[in-house]
Amino acid sequence: MAGLELLSDQGYRLDGRKAAELRKVQARMGVFAQADGSAYLEQGNTKALAVVYGPHEMRGSRSRALHDRAVINCQYSMATFSTAERKRRPHGDRKSTEMSLHLKQTFEAAVMTQLFPRSQIDIYVKILQSDGGNYSVCVNAATLAVINAGIPMRDYVCACTVGFVDETPLADLCYAEESGGVSSLALALLPRGGQIALLQMDARLHQDHLESLIEAAMTACKGVSKVLDEVVRQHLQEASVLTRE
C-alpha cells in the first residue's frame, strides 16, 4: 500500500489519532448577513462554507415546482485553491455534479419539505480547503446552515467517512488515508432514529466486514452530532444574549 503505514502497531494513525477518533470540529453559524442561513465548518484541515437561501418561490423554470413539497437545489463547488493541484473548474464536472446530487438527496430526506409546497430551498456549499471527507464536511456545514435559516428538519444530519484498514475501521479519514487505497464508506445519519439518509461506498470490502464498518460510521456520526448540537446551543445563547438588551 504505497509503503504508507496507515495504522501503526501501537494503534495510531498517520496524524496521531486513534482508530475511532474524529478530527477536531470547529464551526460557526450565521457568518453572512445576506443569506437566510449560513455556516462555516472546519473538520481538521477540511474547511467548508455553506449558505442557505429559502424557502422562497421557484426561480428559473416554474415547471420544476412540486405541488406537495419544496424542491431542494444544491450546488457543490470546490475553490480552485482548495487542492494541492489548482483546480480548473470549481464546479460542473461529473464528480461535483454527483456530489451536488448526493447533497440534495441527503437533505431531501432530512428537511421537512412537505411544509413548503411549491417553493424552493437553495443550499450552496463551497470547499475552501480539501483534506479528505469532503462530502461529510459539506453535509455537516449545510446542516448548520439549514438550522441557521430556521428551516425545520427531522433531525441533525451528520455525515462521516470511515475506512477499513487491517480489520479495523478508521473514523473520519484525512486525504492521505483516503488516497492510500483504503476502502472508504461515507454515511449520512439522522442520529436519533439511526436512519441512514445516504450510504455510499467505494473500493472492495468483504461482505462480512460491512456491518462493523457501518456500525463504526454510525458511532462517528453520533459523535459529530454532539459537536454540532453544542455549536447550535452556543450560537443560540449568544444570539439571545445579544437580543435581550
Binding site: G194, L205, Q207
Partner: protein, 425 residues
C-alpha cells in the same frame, strides 16, 4: 419531452400490489427478470436484455499517452449514453441527473474496484498506454438500467481482445488480428451491480424494479458485488431513510444474485467461444429472434391460480343469495329489437310451424290477426307498467298469464308462434 406522469389510479394500484407482495409481471419479490446475454461478431460487443430493458456495450481501445500521475497504468473510460431511442424522457445532448448517476455508479463499480489490471495495459511507461473505452448505449428502457449496464459492461470487457503489440527499440508495432492473435484483458473479478427498490418509506423491498415500479419507488439502493462476496460499491439514492438491518439484508440478497449472474455471464462467454471455434455463426444477426409480424407480441405472464377455485367458492358462499327473479312478462312492442336470454333453440319448431301454416291455410291467418290484436292490447298495458319494474310490481292480465312466462324474453315472432301453437291444441 417530459415523461408522461403516472396517474394516481395507477400509482395507487402499483403500491397496493406491492403491499400485497405481488408484481405486475408475476415475479416474486426477489426475482430477476429474464437475462439474455449475446455477443456481436466483433470482440468486445455485448447485448444484454433484462426483460424488456435492452442495452448494448462496445469496448474499444487506442494507444494514448498516460496520465502524468500514473505513467505505467492504462486508462479506463466508461460512458453510458441515454439515447432518446430508449425512452421519450431522455433528451439528446444534455447531461441529466440520471445519466450522471449511472455513469458514476458504473465508474465506481468497475474502475474503483480495480477489476481490470490496468498495469498490463502499459506499452511504454510514461509514453504509450492502452486506453480502453467502454460505451454503453441504452436501446430500450424498462427500468433497472444500471444492472443491465453493469452486466453488459463487464461481459463486453471479458469478451474484448486488444491487438498485440511488439516493441523493438523505440518502435512500437501494433499487429493486426491476422498477424497475431489479439490478447484478452486480464480481469481479476466481475463486479455486478444489483438494484433494490424501496417503497412506503422502506417497508417494502423489491429486486430489479421495472420501469413502472421505478416510478412509484421512494428510493433505490445499488450494491455492486463480485462472486467472492466482496462489495465493490454501495450507493443509496432517492430520499429514503434506511436502517442498518435493511442494508445488511440487501447485501445478503445481492451476494446470491451476483453469483447467479456471474455464472450466466461465464456460460454466455463459453458458448460464444465454442461457437467461434467451431466456426459457427455468431453475432447479433444470429442471436436476434425472428420477430417480424410478432414484434409486438408479449409473453404470456403467469397468473397465480393456486387458490383461485377456493376463493371463488368462498366468495359464492359468502355472497347473499340473489333476489328471486320473476321472469319479466314484458312483451316488447313489435318492431323493437331485443337481446335474447339464451333460451332453447326454437328455430326447428318454427320451421315445422311454417310447414303447418302452409297446410292449414286461411283459418290460421285470421286467428293470427286476432292474436295480434289481443297482444297489442297487452303490450300497451305492460309498457306502462314497465317503469315500475324495479319495484317488482307486476300486474298481469288473465290472457298473458296463460302464456309461458319466459315467452317475454324471446322475440316477438317466437312469442306469437308459441301462442299460436297453444291455440291449435
Amino acid at each position: 419531452m417530459k415523461d408522461t406522469p403516472l396517474s394516481n389510479c395507477e400509482r395507487d394500484f402499483l403500491i397496493k400490489a406491492i403491499e400485497e407482495k405481488k408484481r405486475l409481471d408475476g415475479r416474486q419479490t426477489y426475482d430477476y427478470r429474464k437475462i439474455k446475454i449475446t455477443f456481436g461478431t466483433d470482440y468486445g460487443c455485448c447485448f444484454v436484455d433484462l426483460g424488456q430493458t435492452r442495452v448494448v456495450a462496445q469496448v474499444s481501445c487506442e494507444l494514448v499517452a498516460p496520465k502524468e500521475s500514473r505513467p505505467s497504468e492504462g486508462i479506463m473510460f466508461f460512458n453510458i449514453e441515454l439515447s432518446p431511442m430508449a425512452s421519450p424522457a431522455f433528451e439528446q445532448g444534455r447531461q441529466s441527473e440520471l445519466s450522471v448517476k449511472l455513469n458514476r455508479q458504473l465508474e465506481r463499480c468497475l474502475r474503483n474496484s480495480k477489476c481490470i489490471d490496468t498495469e498490463s495495459l502499459c506499452v511504454v511507461s510514461g509514453e504509450k498506454v492502452w486506453q480502453v473505452r467502454v460505451d454503453v448505449h441504452t436501446l430500450n428502457n424498462d427500468g433497472n438500467l444500471m444492472d443491465a449496464a453493469s452486466i453488459a459492461a463487464i461481459a463486453a470487457l471479458s469478451h474484448f481482445r486488444r491487438p498485440d503489440v511488439g516493441i523493438q527499440g523505440e518502435e512500437v508495432t501494433v499487429f493486426s488480428p491476422e498477424e497475431r492473435d489479439p490478447i484478452p484483458l486480464s480481469i481479476y473479478h466481475m463486479p455486478i451491480s444489483i438494484s433494490f427498490a424501496f417503497f412506503q418509506q422502506g417497508t417494502f423491498l423489491l429486486v430489479d424494479p421495472c420501469e413502472r415500479e421505478e416510478r412509484v419507488m421512494d428510493g433505490l439502493l445499488m450494491i455492486a458485488m463480485n462472486k467472492h462476496r466482496e462489495i465493490c460499491s454501495i450507493q443509496s439514492s432517492g430520499g429514503i431513510m434506511l436502517l442498518k438491518e435493511q442494508v445488511m439484508r440487501c447485501s445478503k440478497i445481492a451476494s446470491v444474485k451476483v453469483s447467479e449472474i456471474t455464472e450466466l455471464i461465464n456460460k454466455a462467454l463459453f458458448n460464444d467461444r465454442t461457437a467461434r471455434k467451431a466456426g459457427r455463426k455468431c453475432g447479433f444477426a444470429e442471436s436476434l429472434p425472428q420477430e417480424r409480424i410478432t414484434a409486438l407480441k408479449t409473453d404470456q405472464s403467469e397468473v397465480e391460480m393456486t387458490d383461485v377455485s377456493e376463493r371463488a367458492s368462498d366468495i359464492i358462499q359468502k355472497a347473499e343469495a340473489p333476489p328471486p327473479m320473476a321472469a319479466s312478462p314484458v312483451l316488447p312492442a313489435p318492431g323493437v329489437g331485443q337481446v335474447g336470454h339464451g333460451l332453447q333453440n326454437t328455430w326447428g319448431l318454427e320451421e315445422d310451424e311454417e310447414q303447418e301454416e302452409e297446410s292449414s291455410g286461411e283459418e290460421e291467418e285470421i286467428k293470427m290477426e286476432e292474436e295480434q290484436r289481443e297482444k297489442d292490447k297487452t303490450t300497451e298495458a305492460v309498457v306502462e307498467i314497465s317503469d315500475s319494474e324495479e319495484e317488482e310490481v307486476v300486474i298481469l292480465y288473465p290472457e298473458t298469464t296463460k302464456k309461458p312466462k319466459n315467452a317475454g324474453s324471446s322475440s316477438d315472432q317466437k312469442g306469437a308462434a308459441a301462442s299460436k301453437k297453444r291455440q291449435k291444441k
